[in-house]
């Protein structure tokens, strides 16, 4: 019961933190929309072209804008010592990464869910496809959160070149993009593709606490 109470207060803390930094999340969403505008202007406003590649654009930009906030994933808590305090209060490093991943999913990725309908209007995506987009986004964005946790914990001690963290997320997100876009474009394959996506989610979710927990421990030992 104690651990449950601590988890609830952890999320209360994350909620307060994200509320005070709400403009950061809004900036991510604005980045998302501005890049949609730029995409449309660079392709040209032809309706047919836009709706044929719209889903690819949405997924690409969701990926890019979620990598924008990666630096804040662990950096703040690492620098002010809160990671260590959490650890001293009975959370193992792996457990901290699981909690943090969920928190990133809820407070950073889910706000994009609201922006998808608007984006689909802008990009001329048919209404029945938006549902597929939603379902693939919920699973896919959780995978992105796990990958973000891995790469940002790897780069905690990397002062020179943080962009590497974004590159790591993007290189491992290639299968997610393939399957998520496939779900929306090939509707009759929905069941099989979403099971593959779910399988990827389980793999990444299993790797995440081990890899990022180890990296957090390393960073705390050596800073």
């Amino acid at each position: 019961m104690i651990i449950l109470n601590k988890m609830i207060s952890f999320y209360y803390r994350e909620y307060k933190l994200n509320l005070s930094g709400f403009q950061d999340i809004l900036t991510n969403i604005i980045f998302f929309f501005v890049s949609i505008f730029i995409f449309i202007f660079s392709i040209g406003p032809d309706k047919e072209t836009i709706s044929s590649i719209g889903i690819g654009i949405v997924w690409t930009l969701l990926l890019l804008s979620s990598t924008l906030s990666l630096r804040k994933f662990y950096q703040d808590d690492f620098e002010n010592g809160n990671l260590l305090i959490m650890h001293l209060n009975g959370f193992s490093f792996g457990f901290i990464t699981i909690l943090k991943t969920f928190s990133h999913f809820i407070f950073v990725q889910l706000p994009f869910l609201l922006s998808i309908p608007i984006a689909s209007i802008l990009l001329n995506i048919a209404n029945d496809k938006v549902i597929y987009l939603f379902s693939s986004f919920i699973i896919g964005s959780f995978i992105l959160s796990c990958l973000g946790s891995i790469s940002s914990s790897m780069n905690l001690m990397n002062q020179r070149n943080f962009l590497l963290g974004s590159v790591i997320v993007m290189i491992f997100s290639v299968p997610i993009i393939i399957f998520s876009v496939g779900i929306v474009n090939i509707e009759e394959n929905f069941n099989s593709l979403i099971s593959i996506l779910f399988g990827v989610l389980l793999i990444v979710f299993a790797i995440n606490p081990w890899a990022s927990g180890l990296c957090l421990k390393l960073a705390l030992e050596n800073n």
């Binding site: 803390r13 001293l88 009975g90």
Partner: protein
């Protein structure tokens, strides 16, 4: 309760310190003294099981620290050289978060009393990033009291504090000692805190 036996630590083939012996019982205050780079922070981190000793061992309640880690963590808290309060939130919100996170049953009037003795009560509704560095340092001690644990491991708690504040901190140390708590802290400056043992690194 904590027993350090012949501890020596090496990092990348460089010896940081050798053969340190310590024992921290209840009601004891230990001061770690030494120059910069003499390994004060490293020793404190080794006490928290963050750094593997190259030889020697640390015992907690008679068992090896590694085997008894989460029991140990129930009794220990730590101040690093950074401030753990969330700078975007106000002092009051920070206190609320700490009270929830540490499952503390401390009453509001007690918190107010402590704030008054730490001379922080006027800042209650201000954001932490508008406080000075010394004041955030004092806020850390409020966290320790809310956390309500036996052993305090403090890394340079007295830096950036003026004499008045150090007197207040000395008073909190005495209070903690009278509750059978124990403190181990590092410092490179002379202070008037009444310590029971000094260890030179």
């Amino acid at each position: 309760m904590i027993l350090v036996k012949d501890l020596s630590i090496e990092r990348s083939n460089k010896k940081i310190f050798e053969n340190v012996n310590l024992s921290l019982g209840s009601g004891k205050i230990i001061l770690l003294k030494g120059k910069n780079g003499s390994g004060k922070t490293t020793l404190l981190k080794a006490l928290l099981n963050l750094i593997e000793p190259s030889s020697g061992a640390i015992y907690w309640k008679g068992k090896l620290l590694k085997k008894n880690l989460y029991n140990f963590f129930n009794h220990v808290t730590y101040i690093s050289d950074k401030t753990s309060s969330l700078s975007k939130l106000s002092v009051q919100e920070n206190i609320k978060i700490w009270k929830k996170f540490f499952l503390s049953d401390i009453s509001n009037s007690q918190v107010e009393n402590i704030l008054k003795t730490l001379q922080l009560d006027i800042y209650l509704n201000q954001k932490v990033n508008s406080l000075s560095f010394g004041e955030t340092k004092k806020l850390e001690f409020l966290r320790l009291i809310i956390e309500n644990k036996k052993i305090w491991i403090l890394d340079e708690p007295l830096s950036n504090l003026d004499d008045d504040s150090i007197d207040i901190i000395a008073q909190t140390f005495e209070d903690h000692r009278s509750k059978e708590g124990s403190i181990i802290f590092s410092s490179h400056q002379e202070s008037e805190i009444n310590v029971s043992e000094e260890v030179l690194l």
